[in-house]
Structures are given as C-alpha cells and as structure tokens.
C-alpha cells in the first residue's frame, strides 16, 4: 500500500473520531402511567429485539431512568437516526406512599416505592437540564392534557430549546381524544399512537428521524 493511501486512511480515521456526530439522547418524559415504558419497550424491541423494562398499572413502576444505547431508527421516508433512548420515571410534584397501598402494596413496600420514585423523578429532572438532546413527551390521550405538570414540563423543554415530539398515547381506548392534546400544544408535532397495540408508531418513527436526525 502506498504511503499516500495509508496517509489518506489515517486522516480519514482522525476526522471520523473528531467529527463523528454524537448519538442523540432522547428522553421519554411524561406523567406517571402515560405509557412511557411501553413505548420504550416497543422502540427497543422494534429496532434491537431487546426489552427495556417492566410495566405495571401501579404508578411509578419505573423509578430509575433506564438507558438503551445505540438504536438506529429508520422512517418510512428512508431517513435514519442513531439515538440512545432514556426511559424516565413519571414526572409529578407529589408522591404519597399511601396511594400505593391502595393498589395492595404493604406499608414498607409502599414507602420504599415512594422513596425510590422521588429519587427517580429528581434524577430525571436533573438529566433533562444536563444530559438530554431531545424529548418524546408522552401523554395519555384519555386524560386532560392541561395539567400544570404538563404545562410546566413542556415549558422547561422549550426553554432548553430541545426538539420535542408530543405523543398522544392510548388511542386504542374509547375515551381517547388526541385532538385535545393537539389543541393544548399547537406549537409542537403531536403524534397519536397506541404504544400497546403498535398503531401509528411508523408515523412516530418518521417524525423522530426528521426531528432528532
């Protein structure tokens, strides 16, 4: 191999190391029980074949942010994006362990769950300020989107100038009203999906390649 070819390869490697685009860290945020982990599981399963974490009807099943690295998503438009997905605990301003006891948890177990949940939410808020490049904000489309925590969170995301996709989840349920979410956040793309059944996730993937690429 000639000296010139060797030198060209070295320069090429050097440039790749220094100018390689970092994978975007995409946080899935939203209130408790919006379906964040169900969506994270679907994304990870669709594109890597793995799973992310367990889901439950008891709020705050996810109490530590979980990260799955190096996922390549390809939209129907043929565009691709390399991302790390971060599944976060449901954001709230209040946690009372007695709520968990209503789901049948014992006192000590409920207290432990509450403590872990508070730590997880604090950590997720810190990450949002320091370590996240884009956000999927997940809402249950059967519920009122105008909750203060949603308004605050979208305001925080906007102030960080992070690209955001609002996902109107649970469109498989009869009370779903994704239009209400669109009217609440007209300044952002809103994608109605059922992360449980997988309906319309292709549109979400396409939107992700456009916004996070």
């Amino acid at each position: 191999m000639s000296f010139l070819i060797k030198t060209r390869k070295r320069i090429s490697r050097f440039l790749k190391v220094f100018f390689r685009k970092r994978r975007a860290r995409i946080g899935i945020y939203g209130p408790p029980n919006a379906g964040k982990t169900t969506l994270a599981n679907r994304i990870v399963r669709d594109w890597t074949g793995d799973a992310m974490g367990p889901v439950s009807e008891i709020p705050h099943e996810t109490r530590r942010a979980r990260r799955k690295e190096n996922i390549t998503i390809t939209g129907l438009n043929g565009n691709s994006v390399d991302i790390d997905i971060v599944d976060t605990p449901g954001v709230t301003t209040k946690i009372d362990y007695r709520e968990f006891m209503e789901y049948g948890l014992e006192h000590d177990e409920a207290v432990k769950r509450a403590r872990e949940a508070t730590e997880g939410v604090a950590e997720a808020m810190h990450w949002l300020r320091e370590d996240i490049d884009g956000v999927i904000y997940m809402l249950d489309s059967t519920l009122d989107p105008f909750l203060q925590v949603n308004i605050m969170m979208v305001g925080i995301i906007e102030s960080r100038k992070l690209p955001v996709i609002i996902v109107a989840n649970k469109i498989d349920l009869p009370d779903a009203s994704p239009g209400r979410i669109k009217s609440a956040f007209p300044q952002h793309p809103v994608v109605p999906i059922s992360s449980l059944e997988g309906s319309n996730v292709e549109q979400l993937y396409e939107q992700m390649t456009e916004l996070f690429g």
Partner: protein, 122 residues
Amino acid sequence: MQGVQIDLISEERLASLTTPEKIRLILDGVKQGNIVVLEKGLAPEEASKLIEVTMMEISPDGFSGIEMETYPAKEAGAGLAGFLSRIAGKRPGSRLTVIGPANQIRMIKKEKDLISAWVSSR
C-alpha cells in the same frame, strides 16, 4: 384560632431573590402548611429545580409534595409586534401562581382567567 396562612409574594420580592432562595421560600412556607401565591410565576428553569428539590424533601408521613397551578401564559400578541416577539424567541411571561401542600390543597377549576382551589387546614 385554626386556619390556613396565605403568603402573597410580590413580583418585586421575587425579583430580588436567587433561584435557590425562591425555592427555599416556597418550600419552607408550603411545608408549614401555608398557601404561597406568587405574583409572577417561576421561570422554566426554576420550575424544574422546584420539582427536583420537592422530590428530595418528600418524606413518609411528612411532606408529600406540592400542588401548583398557574394561569395559562398569555399568547404573544397578533400583528407585527407579536410576530417580531415570536421570531425574537421571546416567551410569554409566567403569571400568578398558587402553590400549596399536596395533602391540603385541591385545585377545583382552572380557566384562562380563574383558578379555584379548595384548602383544608391541617
């Protein structure tokens, strides 16, 4: 006399405080069972830190967090002024905000110009 203390904090007082001081003022009041009303709401960064600190201070059978409500932000005006402020990236300012202990306050109704809250004494 039993009752609930309401602290109405003026925009001027808030402007003179740093973010940690504002958060401390709010949480110290709320943890004593007071309702804190801010004449001007928190900036997004401050709201983010308020949630984080609130979570760190929740304890079993003690403080269980906050309930918070604010009027929706005013829309940027129509016409040239509104257009210019939008392209300049100016965000509508936050407005009057009510914060209370989660176990004592329930927001009943919120409209663009009205917040109704029900408050119980401890």
